[in-house]
Amino acid sequence: MTEKLLMGNEAIGRALVEAGCSFISAYPGTPSSEVLEAVVDNLEDAAGPLHVEWSTNEKVAYESALAASYTGKRAAVIMKQVGLNVAADPFARSTYIGVKGGFVVVVADDPGPHSSQNEQDTRLFALFAKAPVFDPSSPAEAREMVTEALELSERYELPVLLRPTTRICHSRQNITLRRPVDPGRRAAFEKNPGRWVATPAFLPGLHAELNRKLARIAGEKDLYPRAQGPHRARCAIVAAGIAYANLADLLDEMGLADQVTLYQVRLPYPLHADFSHSLAKTHEKILVVEETDAVIEMQLKGHNIHGRRDGTVPGHGELTPDLLQSVLVDFLDLSPATLEKAPAPARGRRPSLCPGCPHRASFYTIRKTFPKGIFPSDIGCYTLGLNLGAVDTCHCMGACISQGAGFYRAYAQDGNDFPTVVVTIGDSTFFHAGLPALVNAVVQKARIIVAILDNSTTAMTGQQPTPQHGILADGSPGGRVVIEDLVKACGIGFMEICDPYDIENLSLRLKEADRYIRRPDGGPAVIIARRPCLMDRSNPKARPRPIPVKFSADRCTGCGICVERFECPAISLDAEDKKARLDPVLCVSCGVCIQVCPAGAISENREDRS
């Protein structure tokens, strides 16, 4: 079949279709988001029926796909590394109880991290929950491992993880497509309460069986680490994932490939038992390189094992080719002159909210209205409200509402004069994990303002639909859940829906909300700041009526509010005359800055309506 340039995530998505999965669910999150999108793109090629869904969160995604596997069908669930924390509950039990149809859990890690709140290692999570985990070193290998994982899963009736990292997910490689197969499964759930209900009485037996399965997997011949280079060199390197690929290129470029035995571990947990026992006796010294924690390293026995734990490899972070080169020079006692020193690179430009982003108007207004407020926020594009001084905390999905309540209580118990706490949460994040926290805030009478920044999409990860859309992952119509209905159902006593572009009105509503929360019968107040994301090409309402602006250098006082407080990328202060300048290439003519300038130097340009 045809050869295509596929991103790692596209290769995984394609492989799930090729392997005949019947149920695939996900919640978007960088670096995993494109996997389900690739599944959707390949739906037409699927050999049998295939249900795809963006679930409300990772826990829901995991549980739904798991049940599909109970019926004997092949199923998969996809998420980013911190998504597995949300799905930890179903995940940790599913290894004891097992599966029927092949069940692969794709969890994308983000060493660095590049776009995450931590760089946790899912392979460590796999060890904790006792689930086998594959660690691909390229998009092509990730594709192969999907099939291997499904087969291993079916043979042992266990969930099996595939753990790509950012560098695999967002790499592209030429890959030859295969014809999707139809495993021809019909749903056949066999009732067995001792297993599927598994009360505590059954669990010791199930746990013992899980241990036996893992011991057998650790003896699988095909999963013995693959060696290259000389058979029994003095020095050996054990590597996995992208670190293996980086190292293989590095040894090649440094002319060391014939001096070191290089092992690639494809299944870091459970590590092959013979390998873990014999390696230390085969080589004089051994270096382990893996991302992000010492999962392989801790399973190797011997005093000559070096890696993350003894500081031979830094204890944190991504193993870039540059870093690995210096590790290699140390480990092999090469002359430091081998290292090609380059000056430390400068930090690049920081990201910011897009020009015209409705969140910018919301953040500007919130900070202007409550200069002494406390502003917990959350995960999404809107974390960049940080640049406007309107984001004080960011923790994990949905945390802002609960943290806001915690802030309020800590201040309120010291006296009546508590600062206004305004939490900002995106629409997708609200559905994902904000809802239980809002219920709790009502019950606990937390006097906070919850600003739901509803841009009608999951913007950061590439415009996936939210429950409010009533659109399913494959584009077909689905049910619809509306935010204001949920807010009312939670028992919120104050709710306003505002257009964030109307700064004056939003500010008035925020002040009303502040008066409400301070009333004797007050509680949490909700403001829904609603305007679609400008980047959402599928939304016809996304582009506002253009209001072209002009800047008057005569009126501009150079106060810098449009640059510092409003932080629009299209506006800068001229290096010489310190007056505000507009970059017409970046400006999208949202016109909001007209309301921001205190000197009246920004006005509508009625001549330019192009």
Binding site: E3, K4, L5, M7, T30, P31, E34, H114, S115, S137, S138, R167, H170, S171, R172, Q173, N174, I242, Y244, A245, N246, A248, D249, L250, E253, T320, P321, D322, Q325, E340, A342, P343, A344, P345, A346, R347, G348, R349, R350, P351, S352, L353, C354, C381, T383, L384, M460, T461, P569, V585
Partner: protein, 167 residues
């Protein structure tokens, strides 16, 4: 044939699209091709970098002083990603300012063609004409036509050809 290429820009400038065009040209020529890209938060206007490696490689990443070609869609990124260039390599930079690089004001030229979004392809054309890349104009034009989609194929090809003739 082995070549390591970096494409540096600010989020939104089309570095990802340019990366795909070049990598696809590698495949058209029957070469093993690997890329790495920046996605996620940095895409919101921050500095981004992609790498392309054609030939026998296992990793898509480029080490310091190893890149054979540097394409800079924004001059502010020279101090950020310039260390990846092999010593002596003159990068291709989208800027009106001359310097230790091949300069072209691709944004101004693209704006004159209709939109600054075409600057990436104008710059690519300029680089291909200078024979900096492993691929010639035919292979690139073929991939532009194949990847662009109906609406943009023509303006994209126009922008690329404009760059070809700018050198």
């Amino acid at each position: 044939m082995k070549q390591q290429i970096i494409v540096s820009g600010m989020g939104g400038q089309g570095a990802l699209f340019l990366t795909r065009i070049i990598a696809q040209a590698g495949i058209e020529m029957g070469l093993e091709t690997l890329t790495s890209e920046t996605h996620g938060m940095a895409q919101r206007g921050g500095s981004v970098i992609s790498t392309i490696k054609v030939g026998k490689f296992k990793s898509p990443l480029v080490r310091s002083r190893q890149a054979d070609v540097g394409i800079f869609l924004h001059p502010d990124n020279l101090p950020v990603h310039g260390h990846l260039l092999r010593p002596g390599v003159r990068p291709l930079v989208n800027t009106p300012k001359p310097g230790e690089w091949f300069n072209l004001d691709a944004t101004a030229r693209a704006t004159a063609l209709g939109s600054p979004v075409f600057a990436n392809l104008v710059l690519l054309g300029f680089g291909v004409a200078k024979q900096l890349l492993f691929c010639g104009p035919e292979a690139v034009e073929k991939t532009i036509a194949a990847i662009s989609g109906e609406k943009f194929a023509r303006p994209n090809l126009e922008a690329f050809r404009h760059g070809l003739e700018a050198s």
